[in-house]
């Protein structure tokens, strides 16, 4: 895949086929969007691979992309404290951390792998 639009479409199809409940579908959509937007904006990869699967107690999101070592969840800036203090960069990754049950990152042979369970 190369665009967020492709990912959104694939996520919609997965959630429909797997009959995913609304709250879980929201989490899957949000985690995927934030990670994909982040890698397309800040990473070096022009394309990525996204895989969604059902696991015993939830769902697994697997995202992989090339380029240099780029761990999207290494830093976030927490929630906004006020309108004045509102450089909101990092908010997306903060949301990923809040909504995910588990996040694993590894870098192997020039490929970044991010696994998130929700």
């Amino acid at each position: 895949m190369q665009t967020l639009e492709e990912a959104v479409q694939a996520i919609g199809q997965f959630c429909h086929k797997a009959n995913v409940a609304a709250e879980a579908a929201y989490r899957i959509n949000l985690v995927c969007e934030e990670l994909v937007v982040n890698l397309l904006t800040h990473g070096q990869a022009s394309d990525f691979s996204l895989s969604l699967s059902t696991i015993d107690d939830g769902f697994k999101i697997e995202l992989s992309y090339g380029g240099k070592h780029f761990n999207p969840v290494e830093s976030d800036k927490g929630p906004l404290q006020s309108i004045e203090n509102s450089k909101a960069g990092g908010l997306g990754l903060f949301l990923v951390k809040q909504l995910a049950r588990n996040i694993n990152y590894r870098y192997e042979n020039g490929v970044n792998f991010v696994e998130v369970t929700v």
Partner: protein
């Protein structure tokens, strides 16, 4: 995606998704209504199904415009998922539910 009603207050209603695929368009549509703002803003989320951090930037822009104009920004009609995102992002500390 977004519709605007300019009356006693400016009501900005969001529909379906507000995300990285459409937040720039939404902002372009809203921005003229926020120029020389002299009344309160109501953000109506009752038809919004999904918001991400890109959508939160649009909400933040509206809240900032209201604050800079010395007026109020209120929010209403959030579904449970949208409310959770706004809450954990800290937005409900400065946006009043109306």
């Amino acid at each position: 995606m977004v519709s605007i009603v300019d009356g006693d207050t400016i009501t900005i209603s969001f529909q379906k998704r507000l995300d990285a695929t459409n937040s720039e368009d939404a902002l372009a549509q809203i921005s003229p209504a926020l120029d020389s703002l002299n009344k309160s803003i109501i953000l109506d989320m009752s038809e919004l199904e999904y918001i991400s951090s890109a959508g939160l930037q649009v909400i933040l822009h509206c809240a900032k415009a209201a604050q800079q104009a010395g007026s109020q920004a209120g929010i209403r009609g959030m579904n449970d998922n949208v409310r959770e995102i706004l809450k954990i992002s800290g937005f409900l500390t400065f946006l009043k539910e109306v």
